[in-house]
Symmetry: C2
């Protein structure tokens, strides 16, 4: 099996783009990624389009915005993990020798009701867990009860990610918030306050992925290798387990095994902080600390930029924003920037191995990337 | 790059299943495919779910119906070519060495308005081509004008495919129709009459795909090799070219090249007869005859079972039925049955190489399969 390399990354500003179409956002990210890679649109062999609810053949609509092309398109949907799933599929196709050069674009324009995805009769509906904050509030309460985690430890995640976002030009909320502000903001579902929830965002992100042979031939620099990934899906574990992110645990285990990498080897991570609670528990699911120790990691400021294992230097879903299909690709864009050493004031010094954990209600994909040089 | 083999196939009856959920249809096909392969659900490493409009995380809902499992799911959408696109993705992942054993399920429960997919302002809407029959009627009229093709030649496709469907136990319309009946049936868009349009169908189809290593280890028999596939997407060629199926032409060229197979080597084909016109023109796009000669192939009865190159022995979309996401997988199920020599009264004698051409408004995937023994 061959290797797959990311040689270009592009991302739009994350915001409410009321005056833009989702196709134009996606095209902007694709064009930027191609320019970053120094690649012409004519060289691209396939587009992988990740989104959750942008309608039939959304990827095909995107390529029309970029320019004339008869390239194939694959539309990938996998809840909020669509973006990383598409990067995974694209990397596999390149590694299988099917393509030399492909582009992955994740994009979403959020509409009211976009998250009302539970079918009638679903156990989560029966349990009253019709909206996501409830699930994570329950997880948080359970974690506090079981491990002594505090409300303040959860709230610190929001402080940290907003602090990181200040240095990310595409972030939706690039402004500092204090612990007091986070705690005093409107309660959504105890212990989760509004500043501990990811916002409603529109945006797009794209990466250019090529084969080893193409990399050699093109002489492209600043390449990042897609080392391995793990994908898992729900079969109701999430409704049963309210104190672990089991899908993420299994996906990361698989990725680590495939890559021959241990959690201690990871230099920088982007993880799925749809709520502050989920970031804390993700530390444990990804093996960055032992079970129940997530709160302690916060106290040690280990996951701040400059700490032992910086998490969400981009600002994460909480402060960079969370346009569903775009999120997984955005995480990978951030890691590419970090591993290249091009993150400026939010740079994680000397980062060589990056991990992205992107999860949806029914899926999780964990990706490991490595600086190639 | 390794090889990928289909070792199991399952399909539900195609019909209007008003009393069934789409998840139960899909699960039925999956269980049948696993039983056919002699494989337990616990051995499956990933499910590829192909559908067009069954909502978010439809594949995840399907696995809950089959049985406890934490396997990953990938939802693939690619208009009416979703099914074959998913088989292609699954085969690539197996060939890349990522998986030993995966299942692909294509499924759809059609709802009113499912095909109203054109965004406002689309050139096809402007041209009044808001529904598919208009496009194919135009193509048919142009073909008649340019090459002297007759209304009767188109209508014969419906006669043939219904004749084939009589021997297919899962077909939606397993009954003979005469040329007179086809011609006299209600006109939908001249020259296309209602018996020349594929019906509204619900159903599901599934295949089990494994690696060479798994095949050897398991000792599975009756395997069919996925030789190669070609995928193309629209960037408005379809709106410009009303007398060719350009996407199919390019997809088949790519598949033939990859496989080192010529059109003359194909023993049996399943092609996308959403209308009689599209089957005739697909003969030309697939290189089964020269451009403009599709009508002649009909006159020679070359594409009947027993002819030189039988097309749609299953009854095709016209008579077997056309549940969008299921169709591409159903075509491949039929080829598996044919290449195994298990098609009974509709068997194409001595078939070794099969071709499936599955196309949507914006995508086409052509797959080449070969009997492995």
């Amino acid at each position: 099996m061959g290797e797959a390399y990311i040689i270009g990354a592009g991302i739009t500003r994350f915001a409410r783009h009321e005056d833009r179409t989702v196709e134009s956002l996606a095209a902007e990210a694709v064009v930027q990624a191609l320019r970053d890679a120094g690649i012409g649109w004519g060289q691209v062999q396939q587009l992988y389009a990740a989104h959750v609810k942008q309608g039939v053949a959304a990827g095909q609509r995107v390529i029309k915005q970029v320019g004339p092309s008869g390239i194939p398109v694959l539309n990938v949907e996998n809840c909020a993990a669509a973006g990383s799933t598409a990067v995974r599929e694209a990397s596999l196709a390149v590694r299988a020798g099917e393509f030399d050069l492909v582009v992955v674009a994740g994009f979403e324009k959020m509409e009211p009701g976009l998250l009302s995805v539970f079918p009638a009769g679903d156990p989560r509906v029966v349990m009253g867990m019709t909206v996501l904050p409830m699930r994570f509030a329950l997880m948080g309460a359970k974690h506090m009860h079981e491990f002594g985690t505090t409300i303040e430890q959860f709230a610190q995640i929001s402080v940290k990610n907003h602090e990181h976002a200040v240095h990310n030009p595409i972030a939706q909320y690039p402004k500092n918030v204090s612990l007091e502000q986070v705690l005093a903001s409107r309660i959504i579902c105890d212990p989760i306050t509004v500043l501990q929830c990811s916002p409603t965002s529109d945006g797009a992100a794209a990466v250019v992925i090529c084969s080893e042979e193409f990399l050699r031939r093109s002489g492209a620099r600043r390449a990042v290798r897609v080392v391995a990934s793990g994908l898992t899906s729900d079969s109701d574990e999430q409704a049963r387990n309210v104190h672990t992110l089991e899908l993420m645990e299994r996906a990361s285990r698989r990725a680590y095994e495939r890559a021959g990498v241990a959690p201690e080897d990871v230099d920088v991570a982007e993880t799925h902080d749809c709520f502050t609670v989920s970031e804390v528990i993700s530390y444990e699911a990804l093996g960055l600390c032992a079970k129940g120790e997530g709160g302690r990691l916060v106290d040690e400021r280990a996951t701040w930029i400059g700490g032992r294992i910086p998490v969400n230097p981009s600002g994460g879903l909480l402060a960079r924003g969370h346009p569903l299909g775009a999120t997984g690709v955005a995480q990978i864009c951030e890691l590419v920037t970090q591993l290249r050493g091009e993150a400026g004031p939010r740079q994680v010094e000397g980062a060589r191995i990056g991990l992205a954990a992107n999860t949806g209600m029914w899926s999780c994909c964990v990706t490991l990337l490595e600086k190639a040089d």
